[in-house]
Symmetry: C2
C-alpha cells in the first residue's frame, strides 16, 4: 500500500478548492457546509454535538455557527438546558441546503466518470473503514 497516503492527500487540495469555489456562490465554504449538513441530518443540535461528530474543537464550531447565523442560514432555538445553544436551519437555510446539495451531488457523480461501479463502491466503503482504524489507533495511544 506504499503511496496510498500520497494518492489520498494529493486529491485533497484540488477537491476542497473545487468545493469551496462551488460553495462561494452562497458565501459558504466546505467547513460551513459541514455544519449545515449535520444540522440537516440530525435536526436541532448543540455545538458539542457538532464538534464531537467532526472531531473538531468547540471554538472552531462556535466560529462556524456565528458565520452561519450572520448568513441567516441557522438560528438559535430555546432549549431546556440554558447552557446549551441549540441551532437549526432557517427556511432560507433549508433552501440553500437543497441547492448546494444538488450542486455537490452532481459534482460527486461527475468526478466518478469513467470509474467502474465496483471500484466506486469499494472506495466509498473503504474510506470510513480506514478512518475507524485511524481513530482507534489514536484512542489506544491516549490510554
Amino acid at each position: 500500500m506504499e503511496g496510498f497516503f500520497r494518492h489520498f492527500l494529493s486529491l485533497y487540495r484540488p477537491l476542497i478548492t473545487t468545493l469551496n469555489e462551488l460553495l462561494s456562490a452562497y458565501n459558504l465554504s466546505y467547513s460551513l457546509w459541514q455544519v449545515i449538513v449535520f444540522v440537516k441530518n440530525n435536526g436541532p443540535s448543540t455545538l458539542v454535538d457538532i464538534s464531537n461528530h467532526y472531531n473538531v474543537e468547540k471554538p472552531t464550531i462556535t466560529r462556524r455557527v456565528h458565520r452561519l447565523e450572520e448568513l441567516q442560514i441557522v438560528r438559535q432555538i430555546p432549549g431546556k438546558d440554558r447552557r446549551e445553544k441549540i441551532i437549526q436551519l432557517t427556511e432560507s437555510g433549508e433552501e440553500i441546503y437543497q441547492e448546494c446539495r444538488k450542486m455537490i451531488t452532481n459534482l460527486e457523480y461527475s468526478v466518478m466518470e469513467g470509474i467502474p461501479k465496483e471500484e466506486r463502491f469499494a472506495t466509498f466503503q473503504t474510506l470510513p473503514k480506514i478512518q475507524n482504524n485511524i481513530i482507534n489507533k489514536e484512542s489506544n495511544k491516549n490510554e
Copy 2:
C-alpha cells in the same frame, strides 16, 4: 455516490494529524515530507518542478525548502541556469527519508487492517482517477 466527499474529507483531518505527529519526531510535517519525497523520487529539482507537481504556488515551496535547508535535509547545488535553485537531499536527508519512509509505510499498512485486498486495490487506483477528473474539469473551466 452522494456522501462520497463527506467520507473522503472526514478522513482527511485524522490522517493528516496522525502523519504530522509521526513526522514531528524529525521536526517535519507532511507538507515538508512532500518535498522530500519529490526530490527523492525525481532527483535534483527546481522549486518550479515541485510547485508544478503539487499544484501549489511558488512562495509556498520557497518556504518549505527554506525550512528543509535549515534542517539540513536538502541543499542547493549549482546549475547552468543561474535563475534556478536546484536542490537535492543531503546525506542526513537521505537517512531521514529512509526512517520516515518506514514509519509511513507501516502506517499505510496498519490503517488498511481488516480491509480486503481487492477493496484496498480499488481504492488505491480510484483516487488518482478522481483527481484527474477534477483537474481536467478545472482546466476546462479556465479555457
